[in-house]
Point group: D2
Chain length 407, copies 4
């Protein structure tokens, strides 16, 4: 049987970050073979490693499939070729063979040099214009846009597993479990938030209404007020519940401070929606001094930007909610630009949405009482997420208590 | 201590449907007292029962609170008063004391007679125009609309627990559990779908993408084709995955028929999105014979209406997706009009959304591998939901097999 | 069709505790009919209610089935008959038609008077000796024991739903949910423990090893030390982990106080087992001052009895573990005698075991991160359990903090 | 700073099975350093790889800790030393520095040659007698037994990730997810059972009572009858429910074949326990033709050994149940000897127990509706487990249907 062969090379933390393991895996999954021609492993842990392999397949089609797959794991062809561009045939349509992005740092070889793809996210295309490459979702593709096709001239830089420093990621690997010492995990998360902020890193929180139900709204408000949160991404429910709690003391009619049912409490939820409509907007409520505390209040007061994305489940929704989801996605992305750390709390919908928009090297911490939220997030490609399976109403106040000690 | 007293009466299946239990509970929760003045219990199970009570509270405010609460459980004042209307001060704003609806059948006493509130849903207001009352969401309120305020002249008819007939609801109560004989529950659900359809009832399915991942797409397509489903409510993901599976045989790149990974399968998801944009719409794809099977295909072919609601998490989303969630809610409601039965499968988002739009007397069956979906749905007011904790990929094919035997 | 009829009566909080609802339900479930002959509902909430019904069935067999069922819900025959006894044919064998107990308070009509069945538990038989009736498990039945058969002369007193006082049961009903204000639930549980203890009630904790993993061991130890816990029921794992933590600072090799991995930490678990075997027993370790803190230490020091039941999963198990499960059941029951309140934490096995041994009027609080533990416990008959879905490592320290404020 | 250095080497599928990644990780976790002196990666996938490293630490204590840790991952000292033995000071007590086993294949260097440790399991000690080494639990240690201490002269052979053949493990990695094509996973599991059996492999099933509740008892009985299961490990509940179902048609009083409640069904559970006591044992019931079908019946008829381990939760338990858990562990181990494949179904207790007794190279498939069962099993060291998150009542009948096609 004649063989079809291509030489590839790969460098980085090949062993530590399992890059080589993944490349070997993929080749074998696709029934290919390989020969390791050369390998050098960094003598010390900070040194880079390098490997050169021959990839072998039974026919050209299969070889192309294997290469396409391992290029996505960081392998590059020994001989680099120019990236191929094709124009979009019409608005919102990509050329047939468009290159579908990963969420890893990506470069393209264009006009003889490697250029970085900006705003990298998974499952998008790459548009190249005036010497700059950027990651573009299908709805933003314009007729005539030059779009990368095939897999030539593309290099992926897989992220390395973090290791140094005071870092909650250090000790827990990437798994999630409810069987961990909660108080000390809270301390580690507090350290991480504090340090990230101190170094000028941007921290965004993505949150669901359980923050309010479980009594953690004060904790989140305090994090915003004390300058540790630089953006809030949520839906209608978080805002309505937060404002219900801030103005009426209840969450879905239950008094949060003593867990009794409020009189006529069933009305409070819709009363809140009505009150915001009456004021015209959340910031108007703050200006009119009708809203004097809580998460949304602190956002307005401290000029921390927030985006409320609409969903089919919304009551109202509030006038501040962006009811068009395509537009909401654009606004989410603006907030997420150059973020160092994202904390996702009790919302599968917004967490997966945000995960889809993040490069793989942004730290993601997910706090949820259900393990499956973390599993689903990782299954959908946000594999860097660190899951903390805990009760938000108990965990977040602990984190805030720890941060308070530091300031 | 002087007492504040109001006489109320209530009729219906007081014992069987626990109406009296709930009224007693609420009075005591709110520290009120009651005296049963008269009670007659239907001698036989089909007979109505009747009770007349005095409700006693320490002051007028508390009495009003108690009455407001028990009126929502079906109690009515002995002496009925005319409903009170106030005009909306501006678009999207309700008068301060607006009556917030339940999802139970509701009547108002207007101009000396009881009229039924149309399109009843929970957490909305009631607009009265030209002698008709209808349930209206806040975003659809127009300046000047006459809106019911307070709680006078309102009667709630709480639904009765179903009992007769071949009915899956009969044997399982309202609880959910994974410890039930799966094959026979599938048979009961099949019986229920078949009978509802035979009697001309309308059946709507609300579904998430796990239908496709777990291999149940063929089963759902068959239900549509054989005329057992009369509307499909979903989001972008179900449609994309269904079309990916129908055209490329994969779901997120995994071959559904042998559970292997497809070559370059990671592209299939976005390729599918692109293919629909290229065709212009799903129905165009069907017309162009590019889409020849699956759930969406059967909808188009059999003129079964579908609504795809956008969400912040969407890839694309497809051109058929309604990206404005307020508009999507309106379209969902059109499909849900006069529905007898709603089957919710593996989607918490769309299930809760749909639950919010349903009167409490519509049958709701929820199939999900996670018990918490059912719990959350019921916590949010769709307490009539019957939960089946099972694996959708195994359960739905069983249901279809049973229905096939009947036709 | 001729009818078979029996007159029954029932009294108690018929409406409030849903006794009548359940009786109507059961009759209809079994295709019987009923006529309400007489009903009087307590005028005020503390008054007893009374009802007299005719139960109608198509034949005697069916009538007997219905009666058998509703007698278990508190109905009694108008004309009371003497209980029927049959002797056990051999050790561990009950007569064929033995009466299988519920966990509700039960009386038998023996020699012309009602006597209470002692040590009532579900799914056992009733042995009558020297004018006393007691609930006996099958393995403790001796040849010749007079055992109640059939359903004549048996009266069940269904428990009433609690209502008065500072009581965590008051506001949450019997459901469980993760969407509650955690800090205030912790406060209510603390109030309940404190009050029960103050009134001389006996409180038993049933706990799993997650207490130690999640960092709540100090909290439980403090509850024992401060006199709020009067018995500890657990398995081998809680004891081993507690002693590992108390002597080496780790839980399964992870340092609980800073969540780092201990050097050679993998040995700590087995080292601990070995250390206890070397000392001979846990109390010997305490005497030898090799164990100076923790849950087991406080039990020994404060003479709070504990029982460690063996399981097939045990490492070791420790010399203190009762490896024979039938014997362990007997020891558990001794501890549970006259208990007012049982707190079950993170252990489905021991919680269900304990639930099986408890009369239905003992308060049960279950704290677990997984809702299904509560569901399963209730499905198996401990329907009075109040579920708190939270992170034990965060929740218990909160409870202890609240109790500390009171002392 | 002076350095403490040790040269180690490791061979096997270093990259593919992530052995090298784990060794690098552990060194860095423990703040050590390393230099790769030599590395050769198998040119083709079947070739072995080899690496030689220098491990560097700041002091001897730390170096020993690092070595101790990486020896457990397969690293071996360049210069091999004789294993060190110390005698047990008394029954059930190991010497202080005893070597605590892993569940990986293990050899010791004794009297100049490598000998394999028999019956390897995790968390035990190694006793060396008459030139043979075996893995012994603490309760079976006898005074004077020569026991391996320290970590010299011990070699671990980490298992390699399986790759070839028609194998359900091939395509799913080690993760678990509910979002997989159920019908095709069932087919793969059927293939795997069929092939393992055809090649003479031994297959053991570990099962909980949900097998009966969910209606999968017939499927399991058929697997036993058709010769595909060679041992059954369970507790009291599976046997009682199976016999209740086989003799009375119910499971906890619910008719499995139509999901209705049986008349007086609440007695069936305890009636079954009584019936077995009356017969004296399960096999006596079969002999007396009182038990004619079901899982236990097929075990007796086909001489497939079963072990029922007692637990504190048991009703009864049946006379066949081994109530002493230490004895039950010994009996479980006999059944597990030389097993190729273990299928764990809906029982966390017995699954973790069995996992503790298995070498890491035995295939383990776990079927459960809850993902956390799989997570906990893997957390406790049975990391090779393949989790299938599905509804047992639907999944097992599918597997059996597929196997039926093959015979």
């Amino acid at each position: 049987m004649s063989k079809f062969i291509q030489e590839i090379e790969v460098s980085g933390h090949l062993i530590d970050s399992m890059i080589l393991t993944k490349i070997f895996d993929k080749i074998m999954d696709l029934k290919g073979e390989f020969q390791v021609e050369e390998i050098s492993i960094g003598k010390r842990k900070k040194d880079q490693s390098y490997a050169r392999l021959q990839v072998i397949a039974k026919n050209q089609k299969r070889l192309d499939e294997i290469l396409d797959t391992i290029y996505r794991e960081g392998a590059v062809s020994k001989v680099q070729k120019e990236v191929v561009l094709k124009r979009s045939p019409k608005n919102c349509v990509m050329p047939d063979d468009f290159y579908s992005t990963t969420n890893n740092r990506t470069q393209i070889f264009h006009k003889g040099r490697w250029i970085r793809v900006e705003n990298i996210m998974m499952d998008k295309c790459i548009v190249v214009k005036s010497g700059r490459a950027s990651c573009v979702p299908v709805r933003d593709v314009k007729k005539g846009d030059p779009i990368v096709v095939g897999d030539k001239g593309i290099k992926i830089i897989p992220p390395e597993r973090p290791r140094e420093g005071v870092n909650v990621f250090e000790f827990m690997g990437s798994s999630s479990s409810s069987e961990r010492p909660t108080q000390h995990i809270a301390k580690k998360v507090a350290d991480d938030i504090f340090e990230t902020n101190r170094k000028g890193g941007k921290i965004v929180i993505v949150g669901g209404p359980a923050i309010v139900h479980t009594g953690a709204a004060d904790a989140v408000a305090e994090l915003i007020k004390s300058g540790h949160i630089h953006g809030v991404l949520a839906g209608n429910a978080l805002a309505v519940h937060d404002i219900e709690y801030a103005t009426l003391g209840t969450s879905l009619g239950m008094n949060v401070h003593d867990a009794t049912l409020a009189f006529r409490g069933h009305r409070n939820h819709m009363d809140t929606v009505n009150a915001v409509f009456k004021a015209g907007s959340i910031s108007n409520m703050v200006k009119a001094k009708k809203l004097r505390r809580g998460i949304m209040y602190e956002c307005v007061k401290n000029r921390v930007p927030f985006v409320l994305a609409g969903s089919i489940r919304d009551d109202g929704p509030l006038p501040d909610v962006i009811t068009d989801v395509a537009q909401a996605q654009r606004e989410y992305k603006k907030i997420l630009k150059d973020t160092s750390m994202v904390i996702m709390v009790s919302t599968m919908l917004h967490s997966i949405a945000t995960g889809n928009m993040l490069p793989a090297d942004v730290k993601v911490i997910v706090v949820d009482i259900s393990q499956s939220t973390v599993t689903k997030l990782m299954d959908r490609g946000t594999w860097q997420a660190l899951g903390i399976v805990s009760d938000v109403g108990a965990f977040l106040p602990m984190v805030v208590q720890q941060i308070r000690k530091k300031i």
